[in-house]
């Protein structure tokens, strides 16, 4: 066995955020690669390229590239966000916040939510989201400039899509990525082994490469020429339409987004973006009035990487943007592609491990999103249908364990933290029958003291932080012009 020749030339296809991010990361981390972007118009249904909300993980992606807040926030005009308010998901319960970072803090190895559950079993306790520093900051419209040791806050971004894509393009070209524009192309396969040989652009130019990175959205124009095996999730996630629009009058200082359950899906208010997601089978009439409507089929390509073609973003995984993980998944795929770069032969043993991780990760995001539906409490036909389905086995296992005594199983390639799972489950009123036996080690008085201590700490700490507006203007004041 020999690892053979290394990959030297990479062709990235697609024209949006995903394609330029992939190209920049490839060139930045493996400078010996010759990277070309074949840029073509981004299709409307490429969700990861079109959603303005990101998870906090984007910061790490930027840091690895060497991009700073001055570039990505000030330069690209992004805003910060710390989470989402879920409104109307559980009838009879108040809206709740799924914020990034910690909820409470563990004492002697006892998870915080176990203490909260114990306290609540005896008497009323403040809602669970009042123990999130991020949620408190958002309520006060403040930003944590200092980092306390007993609570964490994660900051995602509100992107201005065009400015952000331009930033990534400029950065990639600055690193030495080449660009060919076209409005269409044709992929030619090699006869002997079925590898992608080259792309013929509509201008007539032919571009060859060792590896093709397909960022062309759900159609996966290149990857789908190799095979079309697809893991369809629509029985679990029946929403198949997304409508999005812009609201120029939006409150620019809102660092929490809002997601409202509707009769047959949900709608969002996030930064300047408005939109809705629904199931066309359940909608009595066309639900959308304004904005661009797209069709979506949720699921995951069974083998995102086959031969010398790897699908990234919606070309690999399509999922509704309920928890804003679309760009995160694309980033994660990009990082993984680089970390696991095979040789020019793209040996199946290497691709198998890539695909295993990639699919496991996508499935756990699916589980997290699906959990919102399964545990929601509404009585319209759509909600009754989703509540009565049999969830994916890994989600059933998760829910069964949590229902028993608030434990969550460990899964590899998990995107959302335990605190995130707990925040949504408890937000929906999905409460376990019992608590962790270890939580008995603390007396009820100790538990209540701990709850109050943390609550006071959060309030005092948040009060002392700068207002979001002031923070943002000081940031742009400091940034190089």
């Amino acid at each position: 066995m020999s690892v053979g020749a290394p990959i030297r030339t990479v062709v990235v296809v697609g024209g949006g955020i995903i394609a330029w991010s992939a190209a920049a990361a490839l060139k930045r981390h493996i400078p010996s690669l010759d990277v070309t972007v074949v840029s073509c118009p981004v299709p409307d249904d490429a969700i990861a390229d079109r959603i303005i909300c990101t998870l906090p993980s984007i910061t790490g992606f930027h840091e690895d590239l060497g991009l700073t807040e001055a570039d990505t926030v000030v330069g690209a005009g992004s805003g910060l966000r710390v989470g989402t308010v879920f409104d109307g998901w559980a009838a009879g319960l108040a809206p709740y916040v799924h914020a990034y970072g910690s909820y409470g803090s563990a004492v002697e190895g006892i998870p915080f939510h176990q203490m909260w559950l114990r306290a609540r079993a005896v008497e009323a306790a403040p809602p669970f989201d009042q123990f999130s520093l991020a949620a408190e900051l958002a309520r006060l419209r403040r930003i944590g400039s200092a980092a306390p040791s007993t609570a964490s806050v994660g900051y995602g971004l509100h992107l201005r899509l065009e400015r952000y894509a331009a930033l990534m393009r400029d950065f990639a070209i600055h690193l030495g990525v080449k660009e060919h524009s076209c409005s269409g192309f044709e992929a030619k396969l090699r006869g002997d082994d079925g590898f992608v040989d080259s792309l013929t652009l509509d201008g007539g130019i032919s571009i060859g490469g060792d590896l093709f990175v397909d960022c062309t959205g759900p159609a996966a124009s290149i990857r789908s020429a190799l095979d079309d095996a697809f893991e369809n999730w629509s029985s679990w996630l029946p929403c198949d339409r997304v409508v999005s629009d812009e609201d120029q009058a939006a409150d620019a200082a809102a660092i929490l987004d809002r997601v409202f359950a509707t009769e047959c899906g949900w709608r969002w208010e996030a930064g300047s973006s408005r939109g809705m997601v629904y199931s066309s089978a359940h909608a009595k009439e066309k639900a959308a009035k304004d904005g661009t409507e797209i069709r979506m089929r949720q699921g995951c390509r069974s083998e995102p990487w086959l031969r010398n073609c790897v699908a990234i973003g919606d070309a690999a995984v399509t999922i509704e943007p309920l928890e804003w993980a679309n760009l995160h998944l694309a980033h994660s795929q990009i990082d993984r592609m680089i970390a696991m770069m095979p040789g020019r032969d793209c040996a199946p043993v290497e691709l198998r491990e890539y695909n295993r991780q990639c699919v496991s990760e996508a499935r756990r995001v699916r589980d997290f999103v699906c959990m919102h539906y399964v545990t929601a409490r509404r009585d319209e036909p759509f909600w009754e249908d989703v509540a009565s389905m049999e969830p994916p086995a890994s989600l059933s296992h998760t829910l069964a364990l949590f229902a028993e005594r608030g434990r969550l199983p460990y899964y590899e390639e998990e995107t959302f933290s335990r605190d995130s799972w707990v925040a949504v489950l408890l937000g929906h009123g999905f409460e376990p029958r019992g608590t962790d036996p270890l939580a008995d080690l603390l007396s009820l008085d100790e538990v209540n003291r701990e709850l109050k201590r943390h609550r006071d700490f959060i309030r005092d700490f948040a009060q002392a932080q700068p207002m979001y507006r002031d923070y943002m203007s000081s940031l742009s004041g400091r940034a190089p012009r």
């Binding site: 690892v3 095979p342 590899e412």
Partner: protein, 505 residues
């Protein structure tokens, strides 16, 4: 929670597994259970697992055990890793360290840089030179890991080598102090509930009948409850792990007190060497299909370094595990649940894993939930399966030939999961990810490289520094590791100051 019923726990067997379970339950779940342990002094304990993994520290901490007291009582020494001698080829030696290679914090694992160096220069130092734990071990040094994560002296962990015969009595004092009850007596029968099939009670030779809600089978190889009474089948792994006997014989310690356990390849298996404060444990784990008890005994007597202090003793076992470790109202912990040879010191770790999983899933009512049982069994299976693959790797990744035992293990069919892992590493130094398992990336790297599974390529990101810069940085790391290790105290000196054993009266 207030009003929860108290679960009556009966622990059968009082060796390491039994007393670890008893101590953990009374300490961690005082309001949920009553613990009653039944043991017979007439039945010896196997006392395997004198060498441990770093996880034991967490267990002791949760029990509030003072480290120096524990080490003095069990005549313990510190352990930074396991030395493997003669495995890849006769004459080879490497240490599987409890720690990382390099800082362990970069985006790219150090072994990729090391591979890149090794591809171009035959004079590249062994990868262990870049590990704090390996370097300290070879120099017989010990100090506690530095709490500052930015320092190279923080990049290792440690475990203990101790006298298992003394660990059980030590835990017994704790458990009884916290209210565990103990009954001395031989069990002659197990009574099942005619309707449910649950274990109802155990009957002692004295005629006493002891009832319980939850039974923990710590009876060792005999597997009194789960194996005999409940007839849970045993999954046999001897096709991959053919060693089925061990001959053990302690001797006096003559050489320096090494802060590591040794595993030395032998003609039909391997030999352990575990240095304690007062003696050195020795044993030869062998496959009876490839050598006789007589020859094994002679080979061990021949090999031990110091004056023997006991007659050689033979143990018999079979690699594998019960299909399920929790059946009905009975949980098996330790050897009653399964056996994996002590090549990677996993016996006590497996006991611990079973106990902490049991504590987390401890029954809420007197009736057991099948959900809890299934989850327990799923988690314990994962532990066993991953350790199994890691052990098989040691036998399979060898160039030894000409001896029937080694020819067999070198050429045997290994599980597909392992086959793929080896392939992945050989190509480009990639470790198939398994974060939940006990052995993390550095462990796999140590064994692969130590047994000559050398990657043919490396992570392309490791090409970033120029050849000169890379060579300089690697050399700087190597000298820093060496310099820091050489300022640390000698292992024996550290122990004499910190936790000298109580001299026998």
């Amino acid at each position: 929670m207030a009003g929860e019923p108290i679960v009556n726990v009966i622990i059968v067997g009082g060796g390491t597994a039994g007393w670890m379970t008893a101590a953990a339950l009374v300490k961690l779940l005082p309001s949920r259970c009553r613990v009653h342990l039944v043991e017979s002094e007439a039945i010896g304990i196997v006392g395997v697992g004198e060498a441990t993994l770093p996880h034991i520290r967490g267990f002791n901490e949760r029990l509030g055990i003072n480290e120096a007291e524990f080490m003095a009582a069990t005549r313990a020494t510190f352990k930074l890793g396991i030395e493997f001698r003669d495995w890849g080829r006769p004459g080879d030696s490497y240490i599987h360290p409890f720690g990382t290679f390099g800082s362990g914090k970069g985006t790219i694992d150090l072994h990729h840089y090391w591979s890149r160096l090794a591809e171009t220069s035959a004079a590249t130092p062994p990868i262990g030179d870049y590990s704090m734990a390996v370097t300290m071990a070879y120099m017989n040094r010990f100090a506690r890991p530095d709490p500052d994560p930015d320092k190279i002296e923080s990049t290792f962990n440690y475990a203990y080598q101790f006298d298992a015969m003394m660990f059980a009595p030590f835990l017994r004092r704790i458990a009884e102090g916290l209210g565990a009850r103990r009954t001395e007596g031989r069990i002659v029968d197990v009574e099942l509930n005619g309707e449910t099939g649950d274990v109802a009670a155990i009957l002692l030779e004295t005629g006493e009948r002891i009832e319980g809600d939850l039974f923990v089978d710590c009876s060792g190889f005999v597997s009194l409850l789960i194996g005999k009474a409940l007839a849970e089948p045993f999954e046999d792994w001897s096709q991959w792990l053919p060693c089925d006997r061990a001959v053990a014989m302690p001797c006096r310690t003559r050489t320096a007190l090494s802060p590591y356990t040794s595993a030395i390849a032998m003609d039909a298996g391997w030999r352990w060497r575990i240095p304690l404060q007062h003696r050195t444990g020795n044993g030869y784990v062998y496959a009876s299909a490839f050598t006789s008890d007589e020859d094994a005994r002679a080979a061990l007597v021949d090999a031990v370094e110091g004056e023997p202090i006991a007659e050689p003793r033979i143990l018999k076992f079979k690699a594998g595990r019960r299909v399920r470790s929790w059946v009905r109202n009975c949980v098996a912990v330790g050897l009653a649940s399964g056996f994996l040879e002590p090549l990677e010191s996993t016996s006590i770790y497996l006991i611990q894993a079973a106990i902490s999983t049991l504590v987390e899933l401890f029954p809420q009512q007197k009736g057991m939930s099948s959900l809890d049982r299934d989850e327990f069994n799923r988690l314990i299976d994962l532990e066993y399966d991953r350790i199994r693959d890691f052990l098989i790797l040691h036998y399979h990744a060898t160039e030894r030939s000409g001896l029937p035992f080694w020819d067999h293990v070198r050429t045997m069919q290994v599980p597909d999961t392992l086959h793929e892992k080896i392939d992945l590493f050989r190509r480009r130094g990639r470790i198939a990810k398994y974060r939940e398992g006990v052995f993390l990336d550095a462990s796999w790297i140590a064994v692969y490289v130590g047994q000559r599974v050398i990657p043919e390529g490396h992570d392309m990101r490791a090409d970033l520094p120029s050849a000169d810069v890379l060579a300089q940085r690697m050399e700087a790391l190597r000298s820093e590791v060496r310099a820091k290790a050489s300022t640390m105290p000698d292992h024996r000196t550290y122990i004499e100051r910190y936790c000298p054993m109580e001299v026998a009266a």
